[in-house]
Symmetry: C2
Subunit: 334 residues, 2 copies
């Protein structure tokens, strides 16, 4: 995409250097997997790997690593576990594109994370709530010792009081972690919040720790928040093919790559994969929907939205809105 | 909606005064009508009128006014014409909420626009391409003489060279018009463009002419661009129920009202109407779709996107992307 093909009425100078510097992490198989219980074929994961590799995407997240027994393998697909043999069978290989896996800090032990030399995985991303930071820090120490590049994703930052954000980030600043992501699990943030948080994360974490972002689209802000974060100089942005992800989904990879306008990225193999993923959308129904708008608006977990979208009242959110309105007010008073 | 129910990790000061000052124009029946050939029942238009009125929305656009014979009334619904009797039959009445109608400057004559005293309409919005400004100015003079509040919506601003924007706005600055809207007909703008354009419109139009915005959601930026415009101090923002509008649709009214967090607006009657409009979406299929992403990306009219969405290749946009890529490159060279 040549930038001269685009908007003519504004000066070219609006394309900032930040747009050329930011890196892209695709987490379609991991976050998109939440929508289909990680039931992607090995062939598909291999196809996505090769497409993202050809597109020069910087990171591909191939799934979650999870302790055996936490989920039933009869109903839950292989990318919730990322057994080494599954990764090999899919044809996922080390190379220029870094391979990442996410761990939920309460669904994994240090024994589930092998030394870096025994896996194709380059990066472990530790997902944690702020209240589980002790556990997350022990996992982080293990991952650093084991030789990985490490991210800590402190989830649902929109629900944390400012002093908790400060304490959590201060602890991470001294931890040796490589990247800390701003994670809007509930899709409640607007760009003004994102700008504030990027500056705050950067300030507390210092110059040697990168800052990432992971957004959800409840309020149609996942891509817009990514743009705001890039403008503030964030280092890594998460995206998924067609925005496939929990509830309303994530920042769409196609929108992000075309926005970045970086000749390094190649859109053609991404468009080829989109044909498959967009075909899943009518049945799996991620994207903007009123029940997710309501949970994002009230800054709560998308679960009641997911239930409403799959129930008889997906078009009528009046009762859900009123009920959350009372619940949030009670929580504030209580 | 209490703002204390929302994001906790950022200071409250991020809610700006601009959010309380901006006015809202709902154009569901007019722009949403493009999707269903304006086939809303009189009862529905009356229901929407009463709901928006209760919600304290500032303007309701009830449709287009069009010269007789331009469209076939056998297939095109009444809100493409806005005959006075249809407005009366729907129960649409003058009051605190201003009623607007749009005119396409090449589909209407001055004889189609009666003196203000003979209609329930308060506001005429003249939609024009920059190249038809002579015709638009004649219509504008007529509407001003006839006693209306007037908007001029210069469409597809993203395709205009900067000197054309300047010439067009300079002419409007001397015209007596009340409001000029930034219209992103092709859904090609990002927030950085919107910020630039609001400042430019404001600068050239001066203090006495209001600035409005009308956005489309091809790149998932309709609401985000509205937020950017509000932050820059725009006076009026267009929105539609559930974002119903041509192609990917518009800025959703529900998202806008909840964002504004202005106690003047009442969300309950809007949620009630959403149950109906959201129910239309599976069949009429507005919202983010890959073919609209492609036309927005290439800054062209959504028509090829609309055809692709309704054809066999709605999930596979590779050929469409390549074809537009060649066409845009040829146009640039030729």
């Amino acid at each position: 995409m040549k930038s001269d093909a685009r908007v003519r009425c504004c000066p070219d100078g609006l394309i900032t250097a930040n747009r050329r510097a930011v890196k892209v992490l695709d987490c379609t198989i991991r976050d998109g997997g939440i929508v289909n219980d990680w039931q992607f074929s090995h062939q598909r994961v291999g196809d996505v790997f090769r497409a993202l590799n050809q597109a020069n995407v910087d990171y591909m997240e191939v799934g979650y690593r999870t302790q055996d027994g936490v989920f039933d393998t009869a109903t839950t697909g292989p990318w919730r576990f990322c057994d080494e043999q599954d990764l090999v069978d899919a044809g996922v290989e080390p190379g220029a594109m870094k391979l990442s896996t996410m761990v939920d800090c309460h669904r994994v032990t240090v024994d589930d994370i092998p030394p870096k030399g025994d896996t194709v995985i380059d990066v472990v991303r530790i997902a944690t709530y702020a209240r589980h930071m002790d556990k997350a820090m022990r996992l982080l120490d293990h991952c650093l010792d084991a030789g990985y590049e490490t991210f800590v994703n402190v989830m649902a930052v929109s629900t944390l009081e400012p002093d908790v954000v400060h304490t959590t980030l201060s602890r991470l600043a001294r931890s040796g972690v490589h990247n800390v992501a701003i994670v809007d699990s509930f899709g409640a943030l607007y760009p003004e919040h994102v700008r504030y948080l990027v500056r705050q994360y950067r300030h507390i974490l210092g110059d040697t720790i990168n800052v990432g972002v992971h957004f959800h689209n409840n309020l149609q802000q996942a891509f817009a928040n990514s743009i705001a974060a890039i403008d503030e100089g964030v280092d890594v942005v998460d995206a998924t093919l067609n925005g496939m992800g929990r509830g309303p989904g994530n920042c769409p990879l196609e929108l992000l790559l075309l926005y970045l306008d970086n000749p390094r990225y190649n859109i053609a193999p991404v468009l080829e994969q989109l044909a498959f993923f967009d075909g899943l959308r009518p049945e799996l129904a991620w994207g903007y929907q009123l029940p997710y708008m309501v949970t994002g608006q009230f800054n709560v977990h998308p679960q009641p939205g997911i239930e409403q979208v799959n129930g008889p009242n997906r078009h009528d959110v009046r009762e859900m809105f009123d009920s959350l309105s009372r619940r949030v007010r009670l929580r504030k008073i209580g």
